[in-house]
């Protein structure tokens, strides 16, 4: 069997890989979108938080003997707590300043963290194995589907939907949305907005930490893993529309697919696919596809 002259198995395999990458893009850019919406901070440290999530999982295993499932729970909490401290003591000082300051600050933090991990663990990467429960795969009639990849896609979707539901359907989400629009007024109603800001930042980076744990068994755990994704997830947020949650999720998956398809049809250009799409979207809709702005 083949599609467009390419063996069907290879084609579907690439698409699956695309959807899986898309799942990472979606979770990472979701955190970015939530943070940007409320804090107006372009969080360049999101990639470093993702890398930290993977390292925390590795450290938990090697120093504490805690396996994958414990890491899936603990690593986001640890990374989130780190984010809370970072927001409180560093980022909060930039409140009300131009975007550029937040961008430079978080970029600086990202570089510093990368440097620390490179110093401590080198650049070659540390192995982290797939949990035994998710080893193996399914022999579908047209392709082989590794269980772990199916799990990553599934759990990412759940995380995205859960975040969306919290933001759109709960009281806390209502505070968050209202504060995004007019934080001063929400505070004048008696709401502790700085606390919401801190918690939101912590949650946003915890999502990145979560993605880091998911990624640890797939990509080797190395200090540069944040660099590999940060530019793409910025493209995702720009295409989806800054601050749009559903936009980030849809665009994340869609770009992963587009990248996968590009790898089949024009492998040399696969790395560019995302940016070509970004340029086209910016030409037609400068505020992004899902943006509410006029």
């Amino acid at each position: 069997m083949s599609a467009f002259g390419i063996p069907l198995e290879a084609f579907l395999g690439q698409l699956l890989l695309g959807v899986m990458n898309g799942a990472f893009y979606a979770v990472l850019s979701l955190g970015l979108a939530v943070i940007f919406g409320l804090l107006n901070i372009v969080n360049f440290a999101q990639g470093a938080m993702y890398m930290m999530g993977a390292f925390v999982a590795w450290m938990l295993l090697h120093y504490a003997g805690a396996g994958y499932w414990w890491s899936l729970l603990l690593a986001p909490l640890i990374v989130g707590a780190f984010g809370v401290l970072m927001e409180r003591f560093v980022i909060a000082r930039l409140h009300g300043q131009d975007h550029v300051y937040g961008l430079l600050l978080t970029y600086g933090i990202a570089l510093a963290l990368q440097g620390i991990f490179r110093q401590a663990y080198g650049v070659s990467g540390l192995p982290y194995s797939v949990p035994p429960e998710l080893a193996g795969g399914q022999n579908l009639p047209f392709m082989f589907l590794p269980n772990y990849r199916a799990w990553v896609i599934l759990v990412s979707l759940v995380a995205c939907l859960a975040t969306w539901a919290v933001v759109e359907k709960t009281k806390v989400g209502a505070y968050l949305r209202a504060s995004t629009e007019n934080a001063t007024l929400v505070e004048a109603f008696g709401v502790n907005v700085p606390l919401i800001v801190t918690v939101t930042y912590g949650f946003g980076v915890a999502l990145a930490g979560f993605a880091g744990v998911l990624g640890a068994p797939l990509y080797s755990v190395h200090p540069g893993m944040g660099d590999d994704v940060i530019i793409v997830i910025f493209a995702v947020v720009v295409i989806g529309g800054m601050g749009s949650i559903l936009g980030a999720v849809f665009t994340g998956f869609a770009l992963g697919l587009a990248e996968g398809a590009a790898k089949v049809f024009y492998p040399e250009g696969a790395g560019m696919a995302v940016f070509v799409i970004m340029v086209l979207v910016l030409l037609v809709r400068p505020t992004g596809i899902f943006s509410m702005a006029k």
């Binding site: 009281k171 209502a174 505070y175 949305r177 209202a178 995004t180 629009e181 007019n182 001063t184 007024l185 929400v186 505070e187 004048a188 109603f189 008696g190 709401v191 502790n192 907005v193 509410m292």
Partner: protein, 519 residues
């Protein structure tokens, strides 16, 4: 149609277009089955001032969008200056000389006032794209013309100021100057007086009259006295249709118009249904103040806005802050609410100094802030908007009681907050602080931009709240509205309280009040 008839119609049309600069025939605009504009025909005579009035949601803004080609009509035709423009692009219509202003102020805040006007002139004189390739001395001509326009709207002395630093009324004047720079034949003004103080309204009315010349003006306006004094002809819109048309006397006597728009006609003088018994006389109020400001100074950036404000409000009392635009009324409310970054002086609430507290701590003491811009959140539904503020005191009004007081909020609970009409948004803005249990209300211009009949409803609600023992600080431009409601009035001028007038002396001291407000 025979050729002769066609020619006759043609020449009749030509005659009409000499007399009328703008003619609309049977305009309909449907939004998903809802007819916002439902068969409107309108003819605007050359050189006249034509006003469009009607209750909120009557379709005035939609009609404006249709006439200026921001929206396509579902059916109907529009002729401007003898040409059919029903399908012409908005930019082209503007080039032909139909220029509009917007309800929301739109200046370039970071450019100096003069440059705001010059940019428009440049566009008009040089055209676009490569039009800037000109001898430098042509800029001098533009400067001269820009200064002339600024003088015409009374902004000559502010030419070098950043436009963002102008007061609201002056921003509107600047907009008018940039609009005039485009040398329009027909000016469409969307609520030119919205948000202006009494004094500004007076001078803007004068200015509109003086700049008219051979131009034509079509405006949407809620302030009936402005409409009465300025316009030659008035069209009243209700539910997307022209309800009545004529001069002010015809309109104001029209039964349908009174019912749909003007209301009992007393909104400007007294709020009906509000007997004197509803307001306990000031003597019955406790002597110790609930709220006391002393020597309050406030700054916006480098601008020193409040200069030692002193005032007091007793429990259950309704006081107003009156004054021209820029007198410091809104800033005083913001100072009480803890929203000024830089302030000094003492603000005592229930015997406790609150000047150093954060705004959220002040809200928790039972202070409810209803801002001028209403502050309804677009990303929240009406119900979410209503329940957003956390309950600050145990006796918050229940959602059921709120729905009893504001039935519209129940009907539209699931809609997006900002999809409500202006009047409903105002009610929602008041309702949510009531639900939170605030007992001291800071209301900033609750009647701004609302049709008289809605103003009347808001008045009734405020009177009811007062009868329930709420303490209210009201900033308001509508003197008739506050006259019937307030126990005391504080007059502000340039950031100071310059006078205090008891409610019962307000009518007697009318001349004095009007002098303060520059009426």
């Amino acid at each position: 149609m025979s050729t002769a008839e066609a020619i006759a119609t043609e020449s009749a049309a030509a005659g009409a277009s000499r007399r009328y600069i703008l003619e609309a025939e049977g305009l309909v605009k449907e939004f998903r089955g809802f007819r916002a504009v439902d068969g409107v025909s309108l003819a605007v005579r050359r050189g006249s001032i034509h006003a469009l009035i009607g209750p909120n949601g009557a379709g005035k803004t939609t009609l404006f969008h249709l006439l200026t080609r921001f929206l396509d009509p579902t059916t109907g035709t529009i002729r401007f200056d003898g040409h059919d423009i029903t399908r012409t692009a908005a930019a082209e219509v503007a080039r032909q000389g139909m220029v509009r202003s917007f309800q929301i102020s739109s200046v370039f805040p970071d450019l100096p006032v003069l440059d705001n006007v010059r940019v428009a002139l440049q566009r008009k004189r040089f055209g676009d794209s490569l039009g800037f390739w000109q001898p430098a001395k042509r800029l001098d001509e533009l400067h001269a013309r820009a200064e002339e326009l600024l003088r015409a709207v009374g902004l000559a002395q502010f030419a070098a100021l950043r436009a963002g630093e102008l007061s609201y009324g002056r921003k509107r004047a600047l907009e008018l100057a940039t609009t005039l720079a485009l040398e329009p034949k027909l000016l469409l003004l969307d609520e030119p007086m919205a948000g202006m103080g009494v004094g500004d309204i007076e001078s803007t009315t004068e200015m509109l009259r003086s700049i008219l010349g051979d131009r034509t003006i079509l405006m949407v306006e809620h302030n009936l006295s402005v409409v009465a004094s300025l316009s030659d002809r008035i069209s009243v819109l209700a539910r997307g249709q022209v309800l009545a048309e004529g001069d002010y006397d015809t309109i104001s006597g029209h039964e349908g118009v009174i019912q749909a728009y003007i209301g009992s006609g007393k909104a400007r003088t007294i709020v009906p249904g509000l007997a004197a018994s509803a307001c306990p006389p000031a003597a019955d109020l406790p002597a110790t103040p609930r709220l006391k400001l002393a020597g309050v100074n406030g700054w916006y950036g480098e601008g020193h806005v409040l200069h030692g404000i002193a005032l007091d409000v007793r429990e259950g009392e309704l006081v107003t802050l009156l004054g021209r635009n820029g007198a410091g009324k809104t800033t005083t409310l913001r100072a009480i609410m803890g929203l000024l970054a830089r302030r000094s002086g003492s603000i005592v609430l229930d015997g406790r100094e609150i000047a150093g507290l954060r705004s959220r701590e002040i809200a928790r003491l039972g202070v409810g802030y209803v801002p001028e811009e209403r502050g309804i959140f677009a990303s929240l539904s009406v119900a979410e908007n209503l329940t957003l503020p956390p309950v600050v005191q145990g006796n918050g009004m229940s959602v059921e009681a709120i729905h009893g007081l504001f039935p519209a909020l129940k009907l539209r609970a699931a809609s997006q907050g900002t999809k409500l009409s202006g009047g409903e948004q105002q009610m929602l803005s008041i309702a949510r602080v009531l639900r939170a249990g605030a007992r001291l209300l800071l209301l900033d211009e609750p009647t701004e931009g609302l049709a008289p009949i809605i103003v009347e409803q808001i008045g009734k609600i405020i009177a009811y709240l007062k009868s329930q023992g709420y303490t209210i600080v009201l900033v308001e431009q509508n003197l008739g509205f506050v006259e019937a409601l307030a126990d005391r009035h504080f007059i502000l001028e340039q950031g100071r309280v310059v006078d205090q007038i008891a409610g019962e002396d307000f009518a007697a001291d009318g001349a004095q009040v009007r002098r303060y407000l520059g009426v």
